[in-house]
Amino acid sequence: MLRLLLMVLLFGFLPLPIIIVIVSSISTTGYFTVPLSPFSWRWYVEFFTNWEWIRLLLVSGAIAIVVALVSTTAALLAALVLERRRFAGSGLFETLIMLPLVFPNAALGVAFLGLLGLLGVSGTYLGIVLSHCIITLPFAYRPILNSLRKLDPAIEEASMSLGARPMTVMRTVTLPMLKPGLISAFLFCFIVSFDEATITVFLIAPDVTTLPVRILTEIQESASPVIAAIATFLILFTLSLVMLLERTTGLELFAAPEKDA
C-alpha cells in the first residue's frame, strides 16, 4: 500500500505540470484553480484566430523539418562511412559529432551568436537552421548507428552477388533495413529543433523568431492565458509524435546501452 502510494507520487511528478496545463487551458481564467472556474474554449479560439501564433507555429515546424532532413541525411552518410570504413581519425570524428552535447546550452548560444555574425547570417532563419543542425546531429547519429550495427552485411553481399549495383543495394536493401533508425533520428531531430529555446534566444531578430522563444517572452511579459491553449496544443502534438515513435521503433530504444557507441 505504502509502496503503491510512493510509486504514484514518483510517477505523478513528471506528468503533473502537463496535466495541470491541459486542465487550465479549458477554463475561463486559463488557470486551474480551486474552486474550479467554468469550462471554456475561448483560449483555443484566441490561439487559432491569431495569425501571428499560427505563423510562428508554421515557421517552427518548417525549421524543424529542414533541420531534421539535413541532420538525418548528414548522420546517415557519416555513419555509413564511419561504421564500414574505419580509418585513423574515425574515432575522433565520432567524438566531434557528439561534442555539442557536452557544452552548456547558454555557452553554445553565445558561440553560435558569434559564428552567425562571422558567416554574415545573424538574425536570419538560415542561421537558426544551421545552429539547430549542429546541435541535432548527435541525436540523429546515435539511432542510425545503432540500426546500422544490427544490419547483417550478408544480406547486402547476397544482393551484390545476385548482380545488384551498389546504388540498387543501398536503395532496396540497406535503406529499408535502416528505416526504424532513420525514423527515430528524424523524429528526434524534429522534436529537439521544434522545442529549442535556450540557444535560439541568442539568435533571434525582431522579425525573425520561433514559437518556443515567442512563448517564453509572452509568459514573461503578459502571462496571457492563451499560452495554456498553445501549450496544450504542443503537448498533444508531442504526444502524437511519441506514439508514432512507439509504433515504429518502441520506446525501449531510449534505454539502449550507450557503452559501445
Partner: protein, 279 residues
Amino acid sequence: MTRTAKPSFALLAGAAILIAAFLTGIAYLVIESLHTGSGWGLDNFAYFFSRSDYVAVLNRTILVSVLATLFAALIGYPIAYAIADYKGNRNFLMMLVIMPWLVSVVVRTYGWVVILGPRGTLNSMLLSWGVIDTPLRLIFNMTGVVIGLVHVFCPFFIISVLSVLLHQDKSLREASQTLSAGPIRTFFNITLPLSLSGVITGAILVYLLSTGAIVTPLLLGGVRDGMLATQIYQDVLQVFDYPKAASMAIVLLLTAFVLVIPLQWLERRVAARVSGRGE
C-alpha cells in the same frame, strides 16, 4: 570476402561541415573572450571576478545545479528502478517518463508557473481550504528554480540509469537473494554499485544542462536569483558586448567542465571495473 562497395569519404562532407562550423564557433568564442578594449588579454575575466554580483551569480549557479542534480538523482533513481523491476509491459511506464521529457521545456516550465504561481493551483487550494491567508511565495526564488530544473532534467537521469539497469544481469541479484542477503543488502551490494556508471552519466547530464539552462531560471527565478546563463542572456540583450559575453560563456564552460571531467574519468573507471575488463 566482403564485396560490399566501400563508401566514399566524400559522404562525410555534410557532417564535416557541421563539425567545422561548430569548432569555428567555439574557437571564435575563445578568441573573442580575450579581446579587450585596447588589445588582447585576460581583462574580461579580471573584470568578471572583480564584480561581486557576478561572483555571487557564479556561486549560485553551482549551488543550484548541484542541488538540482542531487534531487534529480533522489527522485530519478527510484523511478528507474521501478521501471526496470516491473515484470509486465514497460511501455506505459516508459511513456510516463519519455512523454514529459519530450514536451518543450518552455511548456513544462509554464506548467510550474501555473501550479506554484501566486494565483496558481496550489495557492488557490490552500487559500480556499483556509490553510493560509495570503498566497505563499513558491516561485520567483531559488526553490522554484530547483523544482523546475529537477523536473525538466530528471528524465535524462532516469534514462541513463535505466539503460544500465535494464541490461544488468538479473541472476546476480537472484544469487545474492539465494545466499540469504535481504533485498536492502542486495540493493546496496549488487544493484547500486553495478548501476553506478549510469548514475554518474545521469548526474553529468543533469549538472551540465542545469548550468546552461535559461528558460527555467528566467521563468521561475526571481530578479535576484539569476544564474550565470540568464545573466549572460540579459547582458547580451541590454548592451551587445560580444567579448564580455564570450568571456562569461567561457566561465560557464569551465564551471561545467571542472566538475564534469573528473566525473567522466570516474565513470570510465567504474564502467571498466563493473564489466570486469579492468582496462
